[in-house]
């Protein structure tokens, strides 16, 4: 009798467990569907948890990072003489380029003054530190220890000292998640210099993302051409350095990134406000009866005055 009761209890327990597993599976699928449909809202919930755990992530990541840096430093120490020589040569090259850059800057300023060109407002930025690699096989992303309290907005461009590394896809109060340009879902509008041809930089989890949607890849881009952001769509500021064009073994154009992902510790998140966009032309058009004789001699809006 007792064993019958025990058996019934066990059967009941197993049945309840199966129901629980089924319900949890349904909840997981529902969360997945919600994430695919309404990514920004779900991302905000995610970032709220990351905000709460960010200090502990910094604490746990630092020892491992320290060990990794020790290993790198030891490796570098063994080739310190070669590095010294390389650095000396690089300093000489850079000194020459500094002179050229100063001359160009003076010429640029003179030409701007001649044409009375108004520059866009300077792009402000906030610097943060990478505290966690929140990427995985499906996504390439990192966590930075600055958030909306520091002025970071969703979609902001992220750069290291040399070039673009990605964009912000989730912002919490104290942290932000940056999707790297190498990620499969990363699409950045770029242009190829000096031709100015527009294209899309598509990540494919390789160090050199693809350059897609060129009209004629053979003519529009050559290895060595600089790649910069085009500013299309108003998401990123224009003319941010991205990398340099190269061709893969199949001849398809790719971009060797200027950013150094292997030594990515500090990141700049840009605060970019594009110039005022005219949403309808009504404000530009004035009825002839409203123009006074004095105003007829005044240059119209948009012309250099």
């Amino acid at each position: 009798m007792a064993s019958n009761t025990d058996d019934m209890d066990r059967s009941m327990g197993r049945a309840m467990q199966r129901i629980l597993v089924f319900v949890l599976c349904l909840v997981s699928i529902a969360i997945f569907i919600l994430w695919r449909l309404d990514n920004p809202r779900v991302e905000r919930i995610r970032m709220a948890l990351v905000d709460a755990l960010a200090p502990s992530m910094e604490w746990t990541g630092e020892p491992l990072q320290f060990l990794a840096e020790m290993a790198t430093d030891f490796e570098n120490f063994t080739r310190v003489y070669e590095q010294n020589q390389e650095l000396r040569q690089e300093i000489q090259r850079l000194r020459a380029w500094r002179e050229v850059a100063q001359q160009r800057e003076e010429e640029n300023a003179q030409l701007r003054a001649l044409n009375k060109v108004r520059l866009s407002p300077r792009i402000a930025y906030v610097t943060g530190e990478v505290i966690a690699d929140s990427g995985g096989p499906f996504l390439a992303a990192g966590l930075v220890n600055v958030g909306y309290r520091d002025g970071v907005a969703d979609g902001a461009a992220a750069m290291d000292g040399a070039g673009l590394i990605g964009r912000v896809v989730g912002v919490g109060r104290r942290t932000a998640r940056v999707l790297f340009v190498t990620d499969y879902s990363s699409r950045i509008p770029v242009k190829v210099l000096p031709s100015g041809k527009r294209a899309i930089l598509s990540g494919d989890n390789t160090p050199a993302p693809r350059i897609n949607f060129l009209e004629d890849p053979a003519l529009d881009v050559r290895p060595g051409d600089p790649i910069v952001t085009s500013g299309d769509g108003g998401v990123f500021p224009p003319d941010l350095p991205v990398g340099v064009a190269l061709a893969d073994p199949e001849g398809r154009p790719r971009a060797r990134l200027s950013a150094d992902f292997a030594r990515l510790h500090f990141v700049r998140l840009l605060r970019y406000d594009p110039n005022t966009v005219v949403e309808n032309p009504g404000g530009l058009i004035t009825r002839p009866s409203e123009i006074s004789p004095d105003q007829e001699a005044t240059p119209m809006m948009g012309e250099a005055g």
Binding site: V21, L24, W35, R46, G61, G135
Partner: protein, 180 residues
Amino acid sequence: MSREAAGWRRAAAMAALFLGALVSLALQLAPLGLHAGARVSPDLVWCVVAYVALRRPDAAHPLLVFGVGLLQDMLATGPFGAGMLTLLLTSEFLRAQSRWLKRRPILIEWLVVAMAALAAIFVQWLMMTVSFGDPPALGELAPRLGLTVLAFPFVAAGYRYLLRIGAVADNEDDRVFGAA
């Protein structure tokens, strides 16, 4: 062993699962290699859950596994919800195999774990593909699968010989839920 002692052992095993998952997650989140191609790392959280579901099925409670999966999906930028689902399905599958595998050689157990890991990654890939996501090619996921399968014996050894989790006799199975 008395029912009370079995209960304490079960609680200890559950705590070991949760803490092991936290440590694995912390290792996974460490910013050691952010460049493309440097991101291959084993799924240690999956290894921890898989081992406990195999060797201490009573400790891999579905709610606990769900909580671990939720934490992993929120902190690591994977397909949110897919990781939880595959972790749950994996733990239930391995729990169902635990009695059968107890008398089998260790290689057979490892093979079953490898198949479960393959199925878990494939389900995540399929969910992303079906929902018009941008998943990597299946071949790109092979290194992570391989590393996860290779890491499993080390995780198992750590739990069995250091924490003494999973080194139990048949008659110490939990009698409330029991293995399927």
